[in-house]
Symmetry: C2
Subunit: 205 residues, 2 copies
């Protein structure tokens, strides 16, 4: 296990992978280069070569990277060669959209359980999954060994649910609640807040 | 207009603002400090002071920042004191969730039009807005002077729609399509791809 690789480098690997999948789908060529990848992504080819060099030698001077091989290497680095079970908390409009998002399954993330504590939502079925009460959260996570959660609850509930998720064994949280949550050092949180993303761009208008 | 401020600094301002709004809502105190803010955000107080110092002196040694004043200053820097009209393209599950997301309106982003090219979706009403054909995109953007778009279309349609948005006058795009799009230098794109965000965390599992 390679360690001490900056998180910002890890964060770019899924972007490279997404572009490689797309190249593989297009099927027009079997090899690519850091230059090609960089062009598609608006990232310098030197940056891409430097990022990948943290993990080994994946290409050859002159012929570049074999697309299929680089995909399999990146999948291995990012531990994507197994299926990851995922719990989804929050069955509102956003939870509904996430429950139906087909790309999770396509990429090995299986949302297997949806939770909410709103009596009006309990028992509703979203993409084949019944909405369960959050009381059952810990039991499911522990029984199924789930490590990944998607949080689509209001800001006011987010920290409390996060604490319960972490205590039950969750180590990766994709947080859609508009609040920064506190977690222990061994738990990773990614944030998604469309308001924050829009506000970051109005500066330039 | 202050220039040459790193985009990563601009990107943190909405996070500070979100936390300040929350402090104001809690109402327990009128002042805060870079230390308080840092604790809530898991960011060092030195980083916060350095980020804010790009824009002026907002606090006083000893008493810290007045929450209301710092909010108004950040809103001014980020141009949030006006209402921004927004077009939404894509009326699938995600578009539906975005159309109903109440925090846009709360923070001055008004989704005024929803577009799709799927005949089955045209005329459906989402949160009071009828889904219009994408043929009308350019006319609406130009007539209404819209600068901001939210893109919730499949990957295959994203670049073509982006080109049309940019040609019609859009300068900020929040892109939910799982693909990197090419835009001119004066157009800003923010990406939101939950698969990429999950893949970035499995590395650590």
């Amino acid at each position: 296990m390679v360690t001490d690789i900056p998180d910002i480098v890890i964060g770019r690997l899924p972007i490279y992978l997404r572009t490689l999948y797309r190249m593989a789908e297009e099927g027009s060529k079997t090899n690519t280069s850091s230059h090609d990848l960089g062009e598609r992504l608006g990232i310098s080819s030197a940056q891409i070569r430097k990022d990948l060099s943290h993990f080994g030698e994946f290409g050859k001077q002159g012929t570049g990277y074999n697309i299929g091989y680089l995909i399999s290497q990146l999948e291995q680095i990012l531990k994507l060669q197994e299926e990851w079970p995922v719990v989804l908390i929050g069955a509102g409009y956003l939870g509904h959209a996430l429950a139906h998002y087909h790309r999770f399954q396509l990429h090995g993330f299986h949302i297997g359980w949806i939770f909410d504590d709103d009596p009006a939502k309990l028992g509703r079925v979203m993409n084949g999954l019944p909405v369960q009460h959050t009381d059952e959260l810990e039991a499911v996570i522990q029984r199924e060994g789930v490590r990944i959660a998607i949080l689509a609850v209001p800001a006011g509930a987010a920290q409390q649910i996060t604490d319960r998720l972490v205590a039950a064994g969750i180590r990766s949280i994709l947080n859609y609640a508009p609040i920064s949550v506190s977690v222990p050092a061994d738990v990773h949180v990614q944030y998604s807040d469309p308001v924050v993303q829009l506000q970051r761009m109005t500066y330039y208008l």
